[in-house]
Symmetry: C2
Subunit: 315 residues, 2 copies
């Protein structure tokens, strides 16, 4: 039961019938975690597995939001429903910028076949690792054909979140700085498709060529990540990007890699879920006199954290 | 007992007496986690609390390694021993770049009062959250007066790791791009000292002024983060940076904030340790027929992860 008095079951049934307010409520329950999120996971599970998922990642400023918006247009032109999960660092200082991104997607606001939702990363890394896959499964269950997971930065969170997508698109800009950053952050290895966005800027074709050469060295399971040049603001190349995404998806199906990926995701997901379940028990432990007593003992050097943890976990 | 046949106790005793090979071995045990790391945590704990810790973070390419190297020089000139913990994304593709950074610090290679160590983030976020504080405590225990924690990117890991430092330095370059990225990544709020590095480039003083104006709005506990202009390659401004760090530390001590921060760190550390302890139990669960059976049931939609997790955790 949530504060609004609506149970997960009621909210999910309404979301299934197309009610967007209920869908938003369901995703908020998922984001908050806890008993409601667990209940939803149970309700949602059997209905999942139909959507194709695309992760879009790359350095801030690479044009990911604009590209996502253009990609929505392409998918919609093909008659497919699209949900976007935008993973944001929710700093109070950035409200404006992020809001700006969402507003830029405003062209889709009146289209019932499009749903855009931000999820905050701030302060609960572990929470996000569970919440994002759960949110993806909700969007899958309520019937979106395409789910786009857009991340803001190039950090470890992005690499983890990318693991939830069937196809991961890494976006860079002309020039080498971005590619080097992507490389440093480990994005090179997770890219199934590479995009050189803002390709109307100088150096675009050289960047495409350089990336092509680098990527040729790392064909995995018979797939060499293609490099697509786009100008997201005009829509140039976005059709070719959608084609590359679909080509990758067919490759996953034909090679059997999709089944392998999804099995690996189930394994990783179960690990995370067990960890989250155990972590919720930690929260229950982290209160009261016993906890205060142990913290005080650690602070003065009388006790080390592992011994204290073992004492708590034994209780 | 490790593969080399050296126990944590023996390695730590040797590290305490100044043996660098043993210190490296101890830190590897901490990085690997498990029983040796726990044993070390116990050995180390009572000896900690003397070092002052500085976190250095900011976008890739901002010049953090060069700045760290210059800062080492300044601390060493004051007769203080310095340990650097460089948190790297350890992609096989980036070995060169990271190695390059370390080699740049080669000027300190023959100085016994300086110790530089890389730690990898790849693949174990949760592991790092425990390993970094443990490594800091080892370096504190073996007697380094200054511990510098340098991170590579501007992601959530950086924000988490910064929480381990008494003073967090955020490095940007002239121009607004970096500051906006730092802002997006939530680094603005964790900065105790701001550095505009490469200040010999155009726009440096405008960037300093802009940051000063922004930061004036957010004096916390009576501390308004100063903005220091540096040219790490020449050493210009690095003395002023060291002064700002020390001024911040004195402020922490005088205002009582240091005690509050350290108490909060103990609380957060105990939570993480309990979580890690429980997670190690997950690893023990994640094998065998029962695990395979549950994964298979999830994959075909017969079981949801939370129910499966609850079944495992009950056993």
């Amino acid at each position: 039961m949530t504060g609004s008095g609506v149970t997960p079951t009621v909210a999910f049934e309404a979301a299934l019938s197309g009610d967007r307010t209920s869908l938003a409520r369901v995703l908020s329950m998922v984001e908050r975690g806890g008993a409601d999120a667990r209940e939803l996971s149970r309700l949602v599970h059997a209905r999942t597995g139909r959507a194709t998922t695309v992760g879009i990642t790359g350095a801030p400023g690479a044009g990911k939001s604009t590209l996502t918006s253009a990609l929505i247009r392409t998918f919609r032109a093909g008659g497919e429903s699209v949900a976007v999960l935008a993973i944001d660092p929710s700093s109070p200082f950035t409200g404006g910028a992020i809001l700006g991104d969402r507003v830029r997607m405003g062209e889709h606001a009146l289209d019932h076949g499009v749903y855009i939702r931000s999820m905050a990363t701030r302060g609960h890394l572990g929470g996000l690792a569970v919440a994002v896959p759960d949110a993806v499964r909700v969007l899958d269950a309520v019937g979106f054909a395409r789910i786009v997971i857009e991340t803001v930065g190039v950090g470890q969170v992005e690499v983890e979140v990318a693991g939830e997508a069937d196809t991961t698109v890494v976006v860079v800009n002309p020039g080498w700085g971005d590619a080097v950053q992507a490389n440093k952050a480990g994005l090179m290895e997770i890219a199934d498709v590479f995009v050189v966005n803002k390709a109307d800027r100088p150096g675009a074709s050289a960047t495409v060529d350089d990336l092509d050469r680098m990527l040729m060295l790392r064909a995995i399971d018979g797939w060499c990540p293609p490099v697509v040049a786009t100008v997201a603001t005009s829509g140039d190349g976005v059709g070719a990007l959608a084609d590359a995404i679909d080509r990758h998806h067919r490759h996953l199906v034909d090679s059997g890699a999709l089944a392998t990926r999804r099995a690996a995701r189930v394994d990783a997901g179960l690990r995370r879920t067990v960890t989250a379940l155990l972590a919720s028990r930690v929260d229950a432990l982290a209160t009261g006199d016993e906890w205060m007593r142990l913290c005080a003992a650690i602070e003065v050097g009388r006790l080390d954290p592992w011994t204290a943890a073992a004492q708590l976990a034994e209780d």
